[in-house]
Subunit: 344 residues, 2 copies
DNA sequence: GCGAATTTTGGTACCGGTTCCATTTTTATA
DNA sequence: TATAAAAATGGAACCGGTACCAAAATTCGC
């Protein structure tokens, strides 16, 4: 471990160069120009530019008890949903002088816990989290420390926390109503296991309720699949295919990851969409426009959700103490080629 | 701006609770147990657990001049290439007690510059950058401050910096050789504007050189398109289509973004792939397996590249001062359905 | 031109850790 | 048991900023 020479300029160096005290430099940095004579201000400005000085966020944060860091833990950075959210969040974040620490839990509560610890150590000013649902105690701990938290997409029980996400009931029932009107006789819902993920649970529940309200027979056609095990997905898919043989049928997927796996399997089985089976999916990945000449999707305003989450946490950091609120965005149904109208 | 009560536990609180000095607690935190009696160690351990104490990375870094932060500036977080790299980098990063600050420049030098400033302020211990090529001076400045830098994928001229990426010459010539052997008469290369991006330039150059070495007539079939302007892409595509009418032809795209746009246009034009036109593309997005029953791709070991970049920067942070080196990974050609053999 | 009010400036403590060094306590040796 | 060596411990300075308060310099009114 070689000792690395430290060539970084400090506030003291600048003060010396400008021939003033470091208090004055600090005033300059804080933009408190009314406490500075023009002459002093110019001298400092010159010194800073000459020395390419940049104040250390660490040192600054120590005294002021702020890190200017906002943490975001996402469940799956490979998911286009996630990256769209990140863009929205980041734009607002840097516009306001904060910086984003992005963490990817991979839907793994153990990894998530590690990031919690880490972000706590960094004394982040706020946390946005797309939670696995497995670290309830950590959320509580962070809340006890008065660090604002925003839940993204997935709710947690028992804690009063702001939530930003999709209106899953509206989104799902809109889609199901559409499918019923298109005269599908069998409508299946394929999702990853709901376990502790509220979104999946809400979508499934709404799926069943909407079908029941129509007196439709499919409210039992619900499948939970493990997307990391293609055999599992295959057997569930085959079950539905056998069970609905000869009927006008459609699969609704709870996210684009499930959609992708199902399409992969359908192609292996040489089944054609929408002839043998219709498809519709939550999320609107870029490829949904080019597969099967366009897949019908339920699109979330992802960028806007990221923006809203960040705006909300900034308000909290700024001292807003109103009761926890929930923002539910409306989905947009993109009707494309994979859900044609069925003649009775 | 409401004053937020600070309920965070400090080293002093722990020391008081344990009835020892904060020096001893610091020894405990640093794992220097041989300087501590068993009794003291136990008392501290107890106090830390009881109070849920977490040392502040900021405070720690101030004295030790380390932030335990590694910055990574990526050009496009929506690109699957990017997220795969991020996963590799992150895994190694957190295994080594460092944390990653992910920044998305959106291929915009102005945004990139802002992130440079920010990361410099945070006193990051190292930087991995997929650069737009527009902030040469900032790279220089960071280098002057002895902050290790690794270039990802894209090189910059005149600076001695470690580089990790694909062997673009091997990758491109492998693909071109394959296409020539498949008997394509016209082979077009579609890329975003090379400008300051070395990767694009190298792929184009290698494309032309390989064709010339075969005496193939297509070395002029090079198109630069602006992917944010679909009309531009359309006109270039149409030009190639008209120009190669009736010939066995194929398009090689320099990345998956270009590939996606072209497919979109081909579907609008009702052209079928590979019958009317064959396709092959750099990168291997998840959807490449399901479009046209599988698109032939040139796959990079993305995860491995992310791992290698992070490992290299950790070595640099650790004091390795050997001359700047370049790591070029081999690509893998995934032969699928969109590049059939052409009978002469 | 002088005292008071105002503006400008700098000294110093502090934030939460680490590190150096001196002091105290324990252990080993004679 | 006394003494030296080793182990354990704590006090204080320091890292690079900010903030409070007192001192110095300037401006103002008469």
């Amino acid at each position: 471990m070689v000792k690395r020479e430290n060539s970084k300029v400090t506030i003291y160096d600048v003060a010396r160069e400008a021939g003033v005290s470091k208090t004055s430099v600090s005033r300059y940095l804080g933009g408190r120009y009314d406490e500075l004579s023009d002459k002093t201000r110019k001298k400092i400005e010159l010194a800073i530019n000459k020395m390419e000085y940049r104040p250390s966020t660490m040192a600054r944060g120590l005294k002021s008890n702020k890190s200017y860091l906002i943490g975001i833990i996402v469940a799956d950075i490979n998911n286009p949903y996630t990256t769209a959210i990140l863009r929205g969040a980041e734009d607002i974040c840097s516009q306001n002088g904060y910086n984003l620490m992005i963490c990817n839990s991979d839907n793994n509560p153990v990894k998530e816990r590690g990031y919690f610890e880490m972000l706590l150590s960094h004394r982040i000013d706020g946390l946005i989290i797309h939670t696995t649902g497995g670290n309830h105690d950590m959320l509580k701990q962070m809340q006890d420390q008065k660090t604002p938290i925003i839940l993204l997409d997935r709710k947690v029980p028992d804690l009063e926390i702001d939530t930003v996400g999709l209106d899953n009931f509206q989104a799902t029932s809109q889609a199901v109503n559409y499918l019923v009107n298109q005269n599908y006789e069998r409508i299946a819902f394929f999702s990853e296991p709901a376990s502790k993920v509220s979104t999946r649970y809400e979508r499934r529940l709404s799926f069943q309720q909407t079908l029941l309200s129509h007196g439709h027979p499919s409210s039992k056609d619900v499948y939970e699949v493990n997307v990391d095990d293609l055999n599992d997905v295959d057997s569930k898919l085959q079950h539905f295919l056998d069970d609905s043989e000869g009927k006008a049928r459609v699969i609704l997927t709870a996210n684009s990851v499930v959609l992708l796996k199902l399409i992969l399997l359908l192609q292996e089985k040489k089944l054609s969409v929408p002839k043998d089976l219709a498809m519709i999916g939550f999320d609107n990945p870029e490829w949904s426009t080019i597969v099967y000449s366009g897949i019908t999707t339920i699109e979330q305003p992802t960028y806007q959700i990221g923006v809203a989450a960040m705006e909300m946490i900034l308000r909290r950091i700024d001292g807003n103490e109103s009761p926890a609120q929930t923002m539910a965005y409306q989905a947009k149904l993109n009707i494309r080629q994979t859900t044609p109208y069925i003649q009775k």
